[in-house]
Amino acid sequence: MTQTITPPQSQVPEFPNLTFDDRIAALRATKMAQTKEKQQVIGAMDYDDWPMILPPTERRRLVQSISGSGMPINDVLLTGVDMLSNHEDGCFYGPELCGANFRRLLQAHPPYVDAMSSLAGAYMTNFGSYRTSGWRPEFVVPQDLVQLRQRYQLVGAIGAGQHFCQDLGIGLRLGFGGLLAKINDYRQHNTTPEQQAFYDGLCHVIAGMQAWISAGADGAREMARIETHPQLQQNLTEVAQINERLVTEAPMTFREACQWILWYQAAARMYNGSGSLGRLDELLTPFYQREHDDGTLTDDEAIYHIACLLVRDTAYIQLGGPDAQGHDITNAVSYLVLEAAHRLKVPSNVAICVGEQTDPGLLERGVDILLQDRLGHPKFLGIEPTTEGFMRNGFAAEVARTRAYSGCHWSAIPGREYTLNDCVKISFGNVFDVALRDMMTSGQPSMARLWGHFDEHMDIAVAATARSIDFHMRHMKDVFPELVLDLLCYGPVEKGVDASDGYAGAVEDYNMCVDGCALATIADSFAAVEEHVENRHRLTWAQLLALLDNDWGGTEGERFRLLMKRTPRYGSGGSRADHWAQRISELFTRTVKAGPTPAGFNMIPGIFSWANTIPLGKALGATPNGRHAGDPISHGANPDPGFRKDGAPTAMAVAIAAVQPGYGNTAPMQMELDPSSGGDTRRQVADLIRTHFELGGTQINLNILDRAKLLEAHADPSKYPDLVVRVTGFSAYFASLSPEFRQLVVDRVLCER
C-alpha cells in the first residue's frame, strides 16, 4: 500500500468530545502549518492560495514551471513518477499520453487523510509542471502572428488551459463507475483513431482517479485501526467506507457528495489548475434537503463537511442567483456554504449574487462576514448586468441566467461553454505605445491623429488575438487536452472530442474572453498629453517622446513626469481622463464585437488584468501618465491609487460602472475600505455594493484592511501569518506573496481615504 500522508496530530485535544468547531479549528491550524512550510520551500506564491500540500520531504523536487493560468511559478514535483514521452523534445502531447501520464501520477500519488476531516484527499503537485514544453513544436505559429503578438505584447490564448466550468452535477449523478460506462458506451459509436485516443485518455484519468480514491480508503482504514480517540476512529472508519464506495459509485449522501467533489476538484486542480466549482449551493441542495428532512443531518454537521471541502480548495463558488426561469435559488445551503467559509477563516473565493430578485439576506450576511473576518471574502456579483450583458451576444435569458461564477472575474455555463476566460489579454498600454510612435513617424502630431492611430492599432491587436484563439482551438486537443473537465461537460464524451476543439463543436457554446488591461494607465496618459502637450503646450510631442524613451530621466524628465502625473485622473469624476476611459472602453468593445474570430467564434470583451499587472508593466516603457518604464500597469478597471484626494468609493464605483463593456464578461471593481470609517459600516458597504450594480457594475472585490496592520505585515510578513487579502479576483495569505505583489496591495490601501 502507498504511504498515507497525514498531518501531525499534535493539535488533537485531550478531551473526548470534539465539536465540529474544534475540528474546523484543527483543520485551520493544519492548513497554517502546511502554508508556512510551502512558504519556506517554494518561496513567494503570487497566485490563488492553492490547496496543494508538499510531497513528503524525500519525494520533493523544486522546478520552475508555468501555471495553468500561464504565469511563471516555482513548483514542487512529486518524485518517483516516470512520465512517458511521445515526442523527440521529451515532452508528452495529445489525449492518450496526457491521460496515461496523469494516471501514472495519480497511481503514484500518496493519499492524504486527516483524522480531523470528514473527507480524504489533497494534491501535492501540478501535473503541468511535468510538461517540459508548453506547446507542440510542429504546430508552428505563423511568423506574422508571432510578430504581432510580440509587438502588442498580447497575452495568452495559445496553449492556455481550463478557465471554463464543468457541470459537477454530471459526476454527482454518475460517479466514476457511471462515467466510465458512459465513455465505453460512446466509444462504440465514435470509432475514428482520434476519437479512440481521446477516449483512452479519459479512461486513463478515471482509472487513475479510482486508484487514488481507493488508496485514500485504504489509508483511512489503516489509520482507523491504530486510532485511539473514539470519535476520530469512527470518523476514519466512515471515511474508509465512503471512499470504498466512491471508487465506482455515485455519492448518495451530503457528505459523500462533498467527498466526491473534493476528489474531482483535487484532480482537476492538479491536472491543469482548474478552480471552478460554480453553483455549489444548487449542487448540494438535493443531498442536504433529503437528509435535513430525514433528521439525519444537522446544519452544524453540514457546515463542517463543507468546511472540510473548502479547506482543501479555494475554488470559485457562486451562491444564490437565478435559475433558468429567473427564480432566485438562494436556499439554506447558500447560507451554510457562507457560514463554512466564515468558520474556517482561510482564503476562499465564495461569491454572493446581488440583484433585485436575489435574497437580500445573503448580501447582509455576506457583508457581516466581510467586516467581521476581514479576510476579503465573500465577493459580490452583479447578477443582473452580467445576465443582461450576456444576452446581448444573442443568448436567451434562460441560457444567460445559467452562467455561473467560477473564476477570478468570470462566469461560464457549467458543462456547456468553452471560454478561455482570464487567459487572453490586450494591454492598452502597448497599443498606445505603438500608436504614439507610429504617429510620430509621419505628419503633424495631434490628439486627433493619436486617437486615430490608437483605433487602428486596437483593430490590429484584436484581430491578432482572434487569430491566436483560432490557432489555439485548432491544435490544443493534440497538445494538452482538457481531460478532467471533459468528463463533466455536455459533448466531449458524447462526440469523442476535447472541449477545446471549437472547430468540432465539442461543447455547445464558444464565447471567447478578450480582456483589455491598463485602462487607467492609458486613460490618464491620453488626458495628460491632451492637457500638457496639446492644450497648454508645456512640452512638445517630440519632447514627450524623448522623455518617454529616456524613462523621464534627469532633472527635467522628473519635473515633467510630476507635471504629467498631476493631471486629473480617471476616477476623479467628470475629468478628461474619465472621458478617455469611457472612450477607450467603447472603442475596445466595438472592436472586439465587430465580428467573430476568422473561424467564427464569438468573442466577449471584459476589462481585467489579473496578476498580469506586473509582467505587462515590465513589458511596457514609460507612459505619459508619469509612470516609469517597467512599473506595473493599472489594476483591471480600477482607477490608479490616488485618483481623488478623498479616495471616494462612490467616485470609483461611478467611474468603473461607466466603463463596462456590457456583454456579460466583467470589469470588476477592486476596493479597499478602512474598517474605522465609523457610522453604520454594514449598511454603507451593502449600499455601495447594491448601487454599483444598479449603475451597471458587474463584480466587486472588497478588502476590509487595517492600514497599520498591513504595513506591519509588509515589513515583516511572519508577524501576521494568518492575514488574508483579496489580491485581485483571488485571495491569498499576505505572507505568501512576493514583495512586489505585497506592494501593490499596500499602495492601494495607502491611497484610500
Binding site: 532633472t555 519635473r559 478623498d646 468609493p649 462612490t650 454603507q684 447594491r690 448601487t691
Partner: protein, 346 residues
C-alpha cells in the same frame, strides 16, 4: 414650496467637495465645503476654511525646489532669501533652476499675492494649491449629481459645510434649492453665529440642520473661537421653536436638528461643559433635536495649518482618548435620557 427656479450661475467660493462623506448627516453624502467663517476655533480641522478669500497652500514635502513658481509669479509674492535673510540674486536663482535643491529661505508675501494662480499652474509636482475655487451652482451640482443613486439607496444626500456656509448666503440657498429640486436630501452644517435672517433664508430648502455647539461657557467660547456664543444660542432656540411649530422633525433622524459638539481636551472636554450643553439641549431644544454627536479632537488640522503658513493653535494638545470620549458620550446619553435623542460619539 421649492421657491423660484435657480439660474445656476451664482458663484460660491468652494474649497473642497468630498464624496462618500459618511460623517456629515445620514447616509452616504457629498459634503460641499465653503470658504469663510466667523469663528476662529483653535481646534478647527479645516483651517483653510476660515479666510473668506482664496489662499495659497504649500506642501513642502512635495516641493522639488525647481523655483518654477517664482519664475511664474509676476507680483513679487514668492522669492528666496539667503541665510542672512537677504533676497537671493538672479544669478543664485539661476543656479537653483539648473540644480534644484530642497527649498530653504522661501518667502511668501501674502499681501503682495493677487491669488492669480500662476505659480500653482507652473508648479510641476503640485506642491502648491490654490485653496478655494469660484464655482457656479451648476458646476457644483454637476459634481454632486453622479452620486445620486448612492444618496437614494442609503438615505443620504448633500451637506453644505465650511467654514460657515451662511457667509455665502445666496450661493448656499440656491445650491440647497437646486438639490431639493432634484429630490436630493439637504443638510446644512452651521455655527448659527450672527443674525437670524441668513439662517432663516435657507431653511425652506434645508431638511436637516447640523448645529455646532462649541462651548456653553461664554468665556470659554469667546477665548477659543474668538466670538461670543450669545447669537448662536439664541438662533438655536429660535430654530428649535420653528422646527417644533412646523412639525419638521420626524422619526427617521434625517429631518430636523442635530447638535454637534467638538470635545477638546483642556478646553471644553469637561463634565461641566457636557452637563451644561445637555441642560441647554434638554430645556431649550427638546422636540427639535434628533441626534447629538460628540466629536473627539484630532490633530488633522495641524498639518494644514503648517501648509497655510499659520502657527499651530493648539500645540501639544493630544487627540481625545477614545475611552474619555466614550465616558463623555455615555454621560451625555444619561443626561438626555427620555428626550427621544440619540447620542453618538466618534
Amino acid at each position: 414650496m421649492t421657491g423660484p427656479a435657480v439660474a445656476g450661475d451664482t458663484r460660491g467660493l468652494v474649497f473642497d467637495i468630498e464624496r462618500y462623506s459618511t460623517h456629515d448627516g445620514p447616509g452616504t453624502r457629498t459634503t460641499v465645503f465653503l470658504k469663510g467663517c466667523y469663528l476662529r476655533c483653535a481646534w478647527c480641522h479645516n483651517p483653510e476654511s476660515e479666510d473668506a478669500r482664496r489662499q495659497l497652500m504649500f506642501d513642502a514635502g512635495r516641493c522639488i525646489g525647481c523655483v518654477a513658481c517664482m519664475d511664474a509669479c509676476t507680483h513679487d509674492a514668492l522669492y528666496l532669501t539667503d541665510d542672512a535673510g537677504d533676497r537671493l540674486s538672479a544669478a543664485a536663482l539661476a543656479d537653483r533652476r539648473a540644480q534644484p535643491q530642497p527649498l530653504t529661505g522661501r518667502v511668501y508675501d501674502a499681501l503682495a499675492c493677487q491669488r492669480c494662480g500662476a505659480c500653482v499652474e507652473a508648479c510641476y509636482p503640485g506642491a502648491l494649491e490654490m485653496v478655494g475655487q469660484r464655482q457656479t451652482v451648476e458646476q457644483v451640482w454637476q459634481q454632486i449629481a453622479p452620486d445620486r443613486p448612492f444618496y437614494q439607496r442609503s438615505g443620504g444626500g448633500v451637506t453644505l459645510s465650511g467654514g460657515e456656509p451662511l457667509l455665502q448666503q445666496r450661493f448656499s440657498r440656491e445650491l440647497l434649492q437646486r438639490c431639493r429640486a432634484e429630490g436630493v436630501h439637504t443638510a446644512l452644517d452651521t455655527t448659527a453665529f450672527g443674525r437670524w435672517e441668513p439662517l432663516a433664508s435657507v431653511l425652506p430648502f434645508t431638511d436637516l440642520v447640523l448645529l455646532d455647539l462649541k462651548a456653553m461657557d461664554a468665556d470659554v467660547h469667546r477665548r477659543w473661537t474668538g466670538v461670543d456664543n450669545g447669537s448662536i444660542l439664541a438662533n438655536a432656540r429660535r430654530l428649535a421653536t420653528l422646527l417644533r411649530d412646523q412639525r419638521a422633525v420626524n422619526e427617521t433622524e434625517a429631518y430636523g436638528l442635530w447638535v454637534r459638539m467638538p470635545l477638546i481636551p483642556g478646553i471644553n472636554a469637561t463634565a461641566e461643559q457636557v452637563q451644561a450643553a445637555a441642560h441647554f439641549i434638554r430645556t431649550e431644544l427638546e422636540g427639535a433635536v434628533r441626534v447629538v454627536e460628540l466629536l473627539g479632537y484630532h490633530t488633522l488640522g495641524g498639518d494644514k495649518r503648517q501648509r497655510l503658513g499659520l502657527p499651530q493653535a493648539l500645540p501639544g494638545t493630544a487627540p481625545m482618548a477614545p475611552e474619555a470620549l466614550r465616558r463623555q458620550g455615555e454621560a451625555m446619553g444619561q443626561l438626555l435620557q427620555g428626550c427621544g435623542i440619540t447620542v453618538r460619539w466618534r
